[in-house]
């Protein structure tokens, strides 16, 4: 295929639209995380708002070294949840790797009945 350096402008327009549709909701959530609840729900602020870190302080309230002053008490346990996720992913990846490597070696090296079925 010959390299084309210049594309049709419509191609770039389509590309921008696709990137916007793929990344748009994620950016929306990211921007929402810096807004106060009233800014999100009022539905009129868009990109003009006063950014705040309150939501992050509420979410990370038990791993913060200081006490956020907009919060009376902290009922989340995100430190514990994160450690749980970490344990699950590390242990399951390690076990899958070990078992998978052994299984792959056996499938390649030895001939046995049902070898074709299992290697699909």
């Amino acid at each position: 295929m010959h390299a084309q350096d210049k594309q049709h402008p419509a191609f770039y327009a389509v590309l921008v639209t696709l990137v916007f549709m793929a990344v748009g909701p994620i950016c929306l959530m990211f921007i929402n995380s810096f807004k106060l609840d009233v800014d999100i729900l009022s539905g009129t602020s868009g990109l003009l708002f006063m950014p705040t870190l309150q939501n992050y302080e509420t979410a990370l309230c038990d791993v913060l070294p200081y006490e956020p002053d907009h919060l009376d008490y902290c009922s989340l346990k995100i430190g514990g949840s994160f450690v749980n996720s970490l344990i699950i992913s590390i242990v399951s990846t390690a076990l899958t790797l070990v078992i998978g490597c052994m299984a792959a070696y056996a499938l390649v090296r030895f001939k046995f009945m049902g070898r074709d079925v299992a290697s699909v």
Partner: protein, 289 residues
């Protein structure tokens, strides 16, 4: 042999056997499985005539069909569109597969915010352009759920189709170009047939996954208004936890397992056929020399 057998039994056969065993018994949550009584195929037969289960199965089939169709068309179309030398190709690819990397619960919550009838993003934009807002999570609940799943999983098809496209022999495409084929003709007669094995396996993989979707629908509609988006996985979880009919839930899981086994067998048969055809071709080529 022994350690492998032990691992396979513990991780694969025991839970499966437990579920199949439980599906043949009348199982109250207050009993352990040893105390239940044998009822044979009664759970399966009762489910076969249960209108709620049939509705759930029908919704699941509709959902899986539409999701896989739209994702295949969009994913392959995207791959065909982006199969050219662009400068920012790797960045573009990373941006495009970003939706796939997000946890399904977060995707559900994100789309739930966007689908809100008054302050949700989509309705606000529609109203700005003069259209009236659409009742996404009420009347068009299945459509909304399909859109959310398509958004999340089209990148999967896109990545696999792009990899297949970039591994095609360029000689075939150059020959077509020299013979004067237009772009559409090249795609339809050369690129798609050559990509077909990969596309079919991708389609079957995605189909098997589509029957297991739970978190997005649970967060978005919790089964939808009435039962309109209650897919099988949600119905099984609801039967086991809310209705507390564990035998019936196990029987539903049995039906789902049979369906997925049929799909997996189809995938296996297809790859065997492709392999056999490739071997025959190789033999013919070797004999022709």
């Amino acid at each position: 042999m022994a350690p492998a057998a032990v691992i396979i039994v513990i991780t694969l056969l025991y839970p499966l056997g437990y579920m199949v065993y439980g599906s043949f018994r009348a199982w109250d949550p207050s009993q352990t499985i040893g105390e239940t009584e044998w009822v044979g195929l009664r759970n399966y037969i009762v489910l076969y005539g249960d209108p709620a289960f049939r509705e759930s199965m029908w919704v699941t089939l509709k959902f899986a069909f539409w999701v896989v169709t739209v994702e295949m068309i969009l994913g392959v179309g995207l791959a065909l569109l982006l199969d050219r030398k662009l400068r920012g190709m790797s960045i573009l690819r990373t941006l495009f597969i970003l939706p796939m990397m997000i946890a399904p619960v977060v995707v559900g919550l994100m789309w739930r915010y966007m689908y809100h009838p008054t302050v949700g993003t989509i309705n606000r934009w529609l109203k700005e352009f003069g259209f009236s807002g659409v009742d996404w999570l009420g009347q068009n609940a299945l459509l909304s759920v399909i859109i959310a799943d398509v958004w999340q999983w089209t990148p999967f098809i896109f990545i696999l189709a792009l990899a297949a496209l970039q591994s095609l022999p360029s000689s075939a495409i150059e020959a077509a170009r020299m013979d004067g084929a237009t772009n559409w003709q090249t795609i339809w007669h050369i690129k798609l047939p050559l990509m077909m094995p990969v596309l079919i396996v991708t389609c079957l993989l995605r189909l098997i996954d589509a029957f297991k979707v739970l978190e997005v629908i649970l967060v978005l509609t919790e089964g939808g208004p009435g039962l309109s988006t209650e897919i099988l996985a949600l119905r099984i979880s609801r039967t086991a936890t809310e209705f507390r009919e564990l035998g019936t839930a196990a029987a539903m899981s049995g039906y789902l397992m049979l369906l997925l086994m049929a799909l997996t067998a189809a995938m296996f048969i297809y790859t065997k056929l492709v392999e056999r055809r490739a071997q025959r071709l190789a033999k013919v080529v070797a004999e022709a020399d």
